[in-house]
């Protein structure tokens, strides 16, 4: 920050504009595209934005898992999408175990959903921490690509576990009557699943931010992310801190799995792969390692995806390809993401 005290010659206005544009290019492009769409068809665009925000909350929860793990050990936890899938499967099985069906009274559903949510979060969290123990910890000091390859192996194993568990797409009970209209804002109909996603996700996000920002464990996580060796010298149990990070990421993925089940109403074994890549795109877009960035990235990717689905011919088939293209463009041209922070990758 020494440079700040030295009087800087004023850059010419043209250069300043160019700098601003290149720093904010993602915001400009995305905002511009949205504006054009909005002028073309305001109602549909508003609808897309609403749908995008609500599915984006799910992507944000998964993206946080990628970003937490990448922030601390610089590993793309490729199996994270599968952890999300398993969480979703657990929640669907628990509905049956708890006897929750669409006929159960709303009050009982509301009471029953709490333990189901907690248990599926716990299942995913423990699974993620176990993956770290088995597949990544032995390779802590190996070249960087080795754990990435084991992560892919792990992802395939879990996907096939999912395949054995539910060989065909299974229906999740429509417990919250997800498509039921609740109220309208500017002519956009808000349905129950939108509200449900919001009331589950927002407290979790706040809790996570509090945990990472305010608690002793969060401090240990941030210290380990900055410099694992120095953290170890300061008396931080680095291995346990990394395990805790995986646990946190898994907890969020489990919650995302439950919401996704109630939102989409079907679960199947290969849903984790695409969801994982979409969420990873969100994490990269927000600047990997940046928690708030992952949330914003998730919401934006949700909007991009919903817009592609509703606006393109054969949209639901093209949407993943559109999202992956966004991923490639960001990684190649703007690896720092929306907020332009330096990443260790860049």
């Amino acid at each position: 920050m020494e440079a700040a005290s030295v009087p800087q010659p004023q850059a010419p206005p043209g250069k300043r504009v160019a700098d601003f544009v290149s720093a904010q290019i993602l915001w400009i492009l995305l905002g511009g595209a949205l504006l054009v769409l909005f002028i073309g068809n305001p109602h549909q665009t508003a609808d897309n934005v609403k749908d995008g925000l609500s599915i984006g909350l799910i992507w944000a929860l998964i993206a946080l898992g990628y970003t937490l793990v990448y922030g601390i050990i610089e590993l793309i936890n490729f199996a994270h999408g599968e952890v999300f899938m398993i969480g979703s499967f657990v929640s669907v099985s628990l509905y049956t175990a708890f006897g929750l069906t669409t006929d159960t009274s709303p009050a009982l559903i509301a009471i029953g959903l709490v333990p189901v949510l907690l248990l599926s979060m716990l299942a995913s969290g423990v699974l993620n921490a176990m993956i770290e123990r088995v597949a990544y910890r032995p390779l802590r000091h190996a070249p960087k690509l080795a754990p990435l390859i084991t992560a892919i192996g792990m992802s395939f194993i879990l996907q096939n576990v999912g395949l054995l568990w539910r060989p065909t797409p299974d229906a999740a009970p429509d417990l919250i009557h997800s498509q039921q209209h609740m109220f309208s804002i500017f002519g956009v109909s808000i349905v129950r699943s939108d509200v449900f996603a919001l009331i589950v996700t927002v407290p979790l996000l706040l809790l996570l931010l509090w945990f990472v920002g305010q608690t002793k464990y969060g401090k240990a996580m941030r210290a380990t992310a900055q410099d694992p060796d120095a953290a170890r010298l300061m008396g931080i149990n680095v291995d346990r801190t990394i395990g805790l990070t995986f646990l946190l990421g898994g907890l969020l993925a489990g919650a995302a799995g439950l919401i996704y089940g109630l939102y989409n109403l079907t679960v199947q074994f290969n849903m984790g792969f695409t969801a994982g890549l979409i969420a990873f795109t969100a994490a990269v877009m927000g600047g990997i390692g940046n928690l708030k960035g992952a949330v914003v990235g998730g919401l934006i990717i949700g909007i991009v995806q919903q817009t592609a689905e509703s606006r393109l011919d054969n949209g639901s088939a093209w949407a993943p390809a559109v999202v992956f293209t966004v991923l490639i463009l960001i990684m190649v041209f703007k690896p720092g993401g929306l907020f332009g922070e330096e990443t260790r990758e860049g």
Binding site: K144, A146, T150, I152, I157, N160
Partner: protein
């Protein structure tokens, strides 16, 4: 620090298990070209008598295996030699297979081009070009795409590069699938028939008397064709490895910055790795498309990229013999061993089909291999030292002394 004291012992243990040293001794007994001729002779002999002695099914599996060997050798150039982790290799398989589909079938009904094709193909509408021209066209076309898809990844390293290639591997088959009315839905040309795929595809044909009936009743000629292709690919692989370009790849793999400082042109060297790796993938892909007589987007899934990557890693990244071994072993496991294991789930009280979870089993192999022996069964010596940096230095073996 007890961990430091353990290291030499652990390194010695690693050296003891595996067939690396034994392989080195055996390979040294005869010059390389002699081993090559012996192997080729044995393969030709198998081609003549194999179908009758070991059965049709095994013969068919051998043809497929040889095609996979080509794929693995191609991926080895990118991953093993140049050290660029490519998770989207299936894209090049898809492009190669589709080139074969376009130029050797009735897909473009309005075109009526025939070039050096069999009597039967001459009567059909569409594009019909001779197989032996199409495979090279497919190779060239995929090489071009390899360079195009590789170009944006040049600034990336490590896992970002892997993810970008993975995304390409997902996008390419989807673009083919959805290009039923022109590329990206622009225009009217149907490039893929959607999910149905392109079928049937012409057979290889040579204008030599006695060989016109290639592949009509007998799959033996396919074997000779693929064997010739593998020989060509293998020859290129050896020559490339020992070339100036090959040494540049290894330098880039070991230390990009140092290589650049020594005057290696990173952009050119990496693009060549992508292009040549892709070309071999397309070459093999075109053959597989013709052999299976169908080109269908369902064949091009992420699992295939990982399957080929698994061959390269299990055999030994960067070691040509290891990669061939890995491809043969995995392909044969996939074809013969997994169906045999169907009794296992029953025995432990579960009920499922082992072949359905084959990718899960390959994932498991990949994981155990990476954790226990990342250098593969027949390791490349330099690669092994790179992967165990620090552990092996105690043995006095360093990168400077080891030959590639």
């Amino acid at each position: 620090m007890t961990a430091v004291e353990d290291k030499p012992r652990r390194a010695r243990q690693r050296q003891r298990f595996g067939i690396g040293p034994a392989y080195d001794r055996a390979a040294g007994a005869l010059p390389g070209w002699a081993w090559g001729l012996i192997a080729l002779g044995a393969m030709i002999l198998y081609g003549v008598i194999g179908q009758d002695t070991l059965g049709e099914d095994f013969y068919d599996a051998s043809i497929e295996t040889l095609a996979y060997v080509m794929m693995a050798l191609g991926l080895n150039i990118v991953v093993g030699f140049a050290g660029l982790l490519d998770l989207g290799y299936v894209a090049f398989y898809a492009i190669g297979a589709f080139v074969a589909g376009w130029f050797m079938s009735g897909q473009f009904e309005n075109a009526n081009v025939h070039f050096a094709t069999s009597e039967f193909a001459r009567t059909q509408p569409g594009l019909h070009i001779n197989f032996f021209i199409v495979i090279f066209v497919a190779g060239a076309f995929t090489a071009l795409w390899g360079a195009i898809l590789g170009a944006p990844t040049l600034r990336l390293r490590g896992d970002y590069l892997a993810i970008v290639t993975l995304a390409f591997g997902e996008i390419v088959p989807r673009v083919f699938e959805l290009s039923t009315s022109g590329p990206f839905g622009i225009g009217t040309l149907d490039l893929s028939n959607g999910r149905q795929g392109i079928t049937p595809i012409d057979r290889p044909w040579l204008p030599v008397p006695g060989l016109e009936k290639v592949g009509v009743i007998d799959i033996r000629p396919y074997y000779y064709v693929v064997l010739a292709m593998v020989t060509l690919v293998l020859f290129c692989n050896f020559r490339l490895r020992d070339s100036r370009l090959g040494r540049a790849w290894i330098a880039v793999r070991e230390d990009e910055v140092a290589a650049a400082a020594m005057g290696v042109n990173l952009v050119r060297v990496k693009l060549w790795a992508y292009a040549i790796g892709a070309a071999i993938g397309g070459f093999a892909g075109a053959f597989l498309g013709v052999y299976r007589n169908t080109v269908n987007v369902d064949q091009f899934e992420f699992g295939f990229s990982v399957f080929v990557l698994c061959m390269v890693i299990i055999g030994g990244m960067g070691n040509i013999a290891g990669v061939i071994l890995g491809a043969v072993v995995l392909s044969m496991i996939n074809r013969f061993v997994l169906p045999q294991l169907n009794g296992v789930p029953d025995a432990i009280g579960l009920d499922f089909d082992v072949t359905a979870v084959s990718f899960g089993i390959f994932g498991f192999l990949l994981l155990t291999m990476m954790v226990l022996r990342p250098e593969g069964f027949i390791p490349n010596r330099r690669r092994r030292i790179e992967l165990h940096e620090g552990e092996l230095e105690a043995e006095g073996e360093t990168l400077v002394e080891a030959r590639a």
